[in-house]
């Protein structure tokens, strides 16, 4: 095992209670200042007879780049000026201001709402028309992201959160908003990862784990938990339940840096599974501005690998034929700068050459607990992973 044993931490400042509350209000003051600056600028521009505008960094593929040194996806400097007196942008400008005002209210009242609730907070019909400020949440979500990059504030700092997703169980004790939680005593359900995992809200109290295993699928996590894999192997067992939400990614990064544990990822053997790994590792295009806080560049790809089919003598029943889409997606991934390494090219090409994909669940073609007592232990033992 690569992991060095980390001494259980009992440090006082890691408790998110009274002291962190003052830290939080400092951050709130800072965020408020940013929101006010935005409003004041718009007003000043209008007062001069000019066009009130917000500069927002463009969140498109053409404005992200892969930083070879840090090994993360970064947002470029290209910005778009969102002007009020411009028919194409006026509505979005208005919406951005509404969300900013909503966030100011949340900070003032020290409350936190979901992005869906923010949609309802700011949705109303414009007087004298049938037009709504927002038609549905798919319209307000990007506006929130715009505000985040526009004033350089984190979602948490705006007192917003997305729906939580992801479960943990394992040899770790955390403090969540003042409650100490032993993740080794979570029964079958596990601990739900909160959407805000910032230091002011969450702290690691004691760690006895030697590594972290993240699985893509809840069912696989359930299998491993029932088999008490984490107990036997002294680890933290995590599922992202599909594409990792911000909370899970932030938690993973903090675990990686604060607990200094190696992280292994187990996803399906198909381009989509690999992309989940890729986002954990170096960030996504849409949230490229958050990569710094969320990417874990040294996360390890444990499986499933295209080569596992032979290695574990999988039966043909484990195969699912690749679709045209799968192949196109695989080719796209081969072209990503962060998969340029020969080992990755070989791995992706092997899937294409196999002509089939495999789900982690397919390991049950062997035995119910094959994954727990044979597949993962062997891969860990053989240091059979990519990074």
């Amino acid at each position: 095992m690569a992991a060095k044993k980390t001494a259980p931490k009992k440090s006082a400042p890691s408790t998110p209670s009274a002291s962190s509350a003052s830290k939080r209000s400092d951050r709130d003051a800072l965020t408020l200042g940013k929101i006010e600056k935005l409003a004041r600028q718009a007003l000043a521009q209008a007062t001069k007879g000019g066009n009130p505008a917000l500069d927002i960094r463009t969140r498109t593929l053409s404005n992200v780049s892969f930083n070879e040194k840090k090994r993360i996806i970064e947002l470029g400097d290209r910005t778009q000026s969102r002007e009020f007196f411009n028919v194409a942008m006026a509505r979005k400008f208005m919406q951005t201001m509404l969300v900013a005002s909503g966030c100011k209210t949340l900070i003032g009242e020290d409350k936190t709402v979901s992005i869906r609730q923010m949609f309802y907070m700011t949705k109303h019909t414009l007087p004298g028309s049938s037009e709504n400020t927002f038609d549905d949440q798919s319209e307000s979500d990007p506006i929130i992201e715009d505000l985040e990059v526009g004033i350089d504030a984190l979602r948490e700092e705006l007192h917003l959160f997305a729906n939580r997703r992801g479960l943990v169980v394992g040899k770790l004790v955390v403090n969540d908003a003042g409650d100490e939680i032993d993740l080794a005593r979570m029964g079958r359900g596990g601990w739900g990862i909160p959407s805000i995992c910032e230091p002011g809200h969450l702290a690691f109290v004691r760690n006895a784990a030697e590594f972290i295993l993240l699985v893509e699928k809840q069912a696989v996590w359930h299998r491993l938990n029932e088999d008490r894999f984490w107990e036997k192997h002294n680890c933290i067992l995590l599922t992202s339940e599909g594409q990792a939400a911000r909370g899970a990614r932030r938690l993973l990064q903090r675990m990686a840096t604060e607990l200094k544990l190696p992280i292994y990822v187990l996803v399906d053997n198909d381009p989509w599974g690999l992309y989940i790994y890729s986002v954990l590792k170096q960030g996504s295009i849409n949230l490229a501005y958050e990569s710094m806080r969320m990417a874990v560049p040294n996360v390890r790809f444990l499986g499933m690998s295209a080569f596992d089919y032979k290695k574990f003598a999988m039966p043909p029943a484990a195969e699912i034929k690749l679709t045209k889409e799968d192949i196109t997606r695989a080719e796209q991934m081969k072209a990503y700068p962060w998969f340029k390494d020969a080992k990755w090219q070989r791995e992706i090409q092997a899937t294409i050459d196999n002509g089939f994909k495999m789900e982690v669940d397919a390991l049950l073609t062997k035995r119910i607990s094959f994954i727990t007592d044979e597949y993962i232990p062997k891969k860990l033992r053989d240091r059979d992973y990519l990074q």
Partner: protein, 613 residues
């Protein structure tokens, strides 16, 4: 012909196998024909040719009768320099079935069996014109082919001298009733009322009765004709004719009483009489061979050269000499002795010789301003009017002018083909649109180029009425019915140019309107969002909402072109006052200088504004 065919039915096909060599049997001999040769009575002629004269059906008969009388009134007033005041009344006097009350016409063919839906009407047309000398009245109203306009080249509505007497004859043939004419030539003179009939055998007037009456009018003529007819609405109806006449004659005041007793009044909109058209001599380029022969024969022993100078416009002695040379005719030859090949060569030379165009003073257009004034009488609520009067041009030696006016938008019907009005010397043409060069010029114009819809090869579909007027000393109609203008290249070209010129004026308006609509949309969008943005900013900065709304509304005119401010900067152009975002300078006053309008809810007075003539 059909008759003789019946007499000898089988002999027309010599190819048919015959037992003995056929010696074609003569169908008629000079003697047998002589028994059938006799004078044709005008009523017979009329009955056979009434389609040529506009009396082919009862509805058209009513229109033609009114039209002939009104055209005459207008011609007479203009010639006398009087602003026309015209009254038209149509009274329904009874069912048509009682028409055939033993009069000569009843059996004369066709007209007696009045078609269903027709009825008996009395038409009254009264003017304030110069009146008619008593002695002339019978001939004018009860003799076919009698008039003052046939023997001259001068722009007028009437040309042939058939019009009004044909209407009178039709009335007489269908109802047996005489034509009643009242006329007075000056203040203080008596007014005469004359009842007239046409002696159809001799084409001679037959004065039925005559009396002196009191007439409040200083001068004028009143024509009353009773006839079997049908009153119809629509494009070929009487009311359409009158309304179109109102468009082309803005100097005319008209009162109209319909058969239902409704009274329509169109006061005149200008006191300017059309300039008097000058009578001109024929131009050498347009003369026809027969006409040339008549002109030379009538010259009373002059030399050809002198006769040419005398009879034609723009022919100087030098030009006449050249014509003779081209025709290889001695200039000294007596004109009335020119004939045969000489005549033909002379005719050819006249057509080819280089001469000045005929004087344009012979043509009197309505004029751009008055055409619009005329359109406004009929389409008073349109949103835009435009007109174009082309410079004079020439076809076949005849000077002419084309002008086009149009009314657009307002309460004109959307999504319908545009209304096309055709005029020849200010007279509406209501029949045969498909055969008319004027319609052709509208069809051939690409209205899509002016941002209107136009189905392929069709009329533009738009809330629009188009008036095309051809003014000329001689209007080339496709037939004697004077219903459609013939397709002369020169005419069609000028018509198209006029339509296009007017269309371009319209396009400028349509585009400006579309732009104004876009701007209006932009403005209302910003006006809708400003209160939202202001509310948000006021919540963030803890400032009163109106303090924030105000500068936003003040800045708005810098980005929207208001309909009533044509000088403001165009779409999205940053105003000069715009400065870097964070410059904490105090606000300069541009917004206030613009009148600081709080644009919200402000109605722009666009209705009046957009009438760009």
């Amino acid at each position: 012909m059909p008759k003789s065919k019946k007499d000898a039915p089988s002999l027309e096909q010599p190819e048919q196998p015959e037992p003995e060599p056929a010696q074609p049997k003569r169908r008629a001999t000079a003697e047998s024909m002589a028994t059938r040769q006799r004078e044709i009575s005008v009523s017979e002629f009329f009955t056979k040719n009434r389609h040529l004269l506009g009396f082919d059906n009862p509805a058209k008969a009513l229109l033609t009768t009114i039209k002939e009388a009104v055209d005459n009134s207008l011609d007479a007033c203009e010639e006398a320099g009087i602003l026309p005041d015209i009254l038209v009344e149509i009274h329904e006097t009874g069912a048509a079935a009682k028409a055939g009350d033993g009069t000569t016409g009843a059996g004369a063919g066709g007209t007696s069996g009045a078609p269903a839906g027709s009825s008996r009407f009395r038409v009254v047309v009264e003017d304030n014109g110069p009146g008619i000398v008593k002695a002339q009245i019978p001939k004018i109203f009860a003799k076919l082919l009698y008039g003052s306009k046939f023997h001259r080249l001068k722009q007028s509505r009437g040309q042939q001298g058939i019009g009004i007497s044909a209407a009178g004859l039709y009335g007489q043939l269908t109802t047996g009733k005489p034509v009643v004419i009242t006329s007075k030539t000056a203040k203080g003179r008596p007014a005469f009322r004359i009842h007239l009939r046409i002696d159809t055998k001799r084409n001679q007037p037959d004065v039925f009765s005559e009396e002196t009456v009191d007439w409040a009018k200083d001068h004028g003529t009143r024509v009353e004709i009773e006839l079997v007819a049908a009153y119809r609405g629509g494009r070929t109806g009487v009311q359409e004719y009158l309304e179109q006449t109102v468009v082309a004659n803005p100097h005319m005041a008209l009162a109209y009483v319909s058969p239902k007793g409704e009274r329509l009044e169109f006061p005149r909109v200008t006191s300017d009489l059309p300039r008097e058209a000058q009578e001109i001599k024929p131009h050498p380029h347009g003369v026809e061979l027969g006409m040339l022969h008549t002109m030379l024969s009538d010259s009373g022993g002059e030399s050809v050269k002198d006769a040419l100078v005398e009879s034609f416009s723009r022919v100087s002695p030098a030009v006449a000499a050249q014509i003779c040379k081209m025709a290889r005719v001695s200039p000294k030859t007596a004109a009335d002795r020119i004939q045969g090949e000489d005549l033909e060569r002379l005719h050819k030379a006249l057509g080819e010789v280089k001469v000045m165009a005929p004087p344009a003073t012979a043509v009197v257009p309505i004029g751009e301003e008055l055409l619009i004034a005329g359109l406004k009488r009929r389409y008073s609520n349109a949103e835009f009017y435009a007109s174009t009067t082309r410079p004079p041009s020439v076809y076949r030696g005849n000077p002419f002018v084309v002008e086009v006016g149009l009314a657009f938008g307002g309460d004109l019907p959307l999504d319908e083909a545009a209304d096309i009005m055709r005029f020849a010397n200010r007279v509406p043409l209501q029949y045969q649109p498909k055969a008319c060069a004027i319609s052709e010029s509208v069809y051939q114009t690409n209205w899509r180029g002016y941002d209107l819809q136009q189905p392929k090869g069709g009329l533009p579909v738009a809330p629009m009425a188009v008036a095309v007027h051809l003014a000329s000393v001689w209007v080339p109609f496709t037939s004697e019915a004077k219903e459609a203008v013939a397709h002369y290249d020169e005419l069609l070209r000028e018509m198209k140019l006029a339509v296009q010129e007017c269309g371009r004026k319209l396009a400028a308006h349509v585009r400006a309107r579309a732009h104004a609509q876009r701007e209006e949309k932009r403005r209302s969008l910003f006006e809708r969002y400003i209160p939202e943005v202001a509310a948000a900013i006021s919540a963030i900065l803890d400032l009163p909402k109106d303090k924030i709304e105000k500068p936003f509304f003040a800045a708005l005119p810098n980005f929207v072109r208001f309909a009533d401010e044509p000088g403001t900067p165009p779409d999205g152009a940053p105003p000069a006052a715009a400065a870097p975002n964070d410059a904490p300078t105090p606000p300069p006053p541009p917004a206030a200088a613009r009148g600081g309008k709080g644009g919200k809810g402000k109605a722009s007075p666009r209705g009046e504004q957009l009438e760009l003539i």
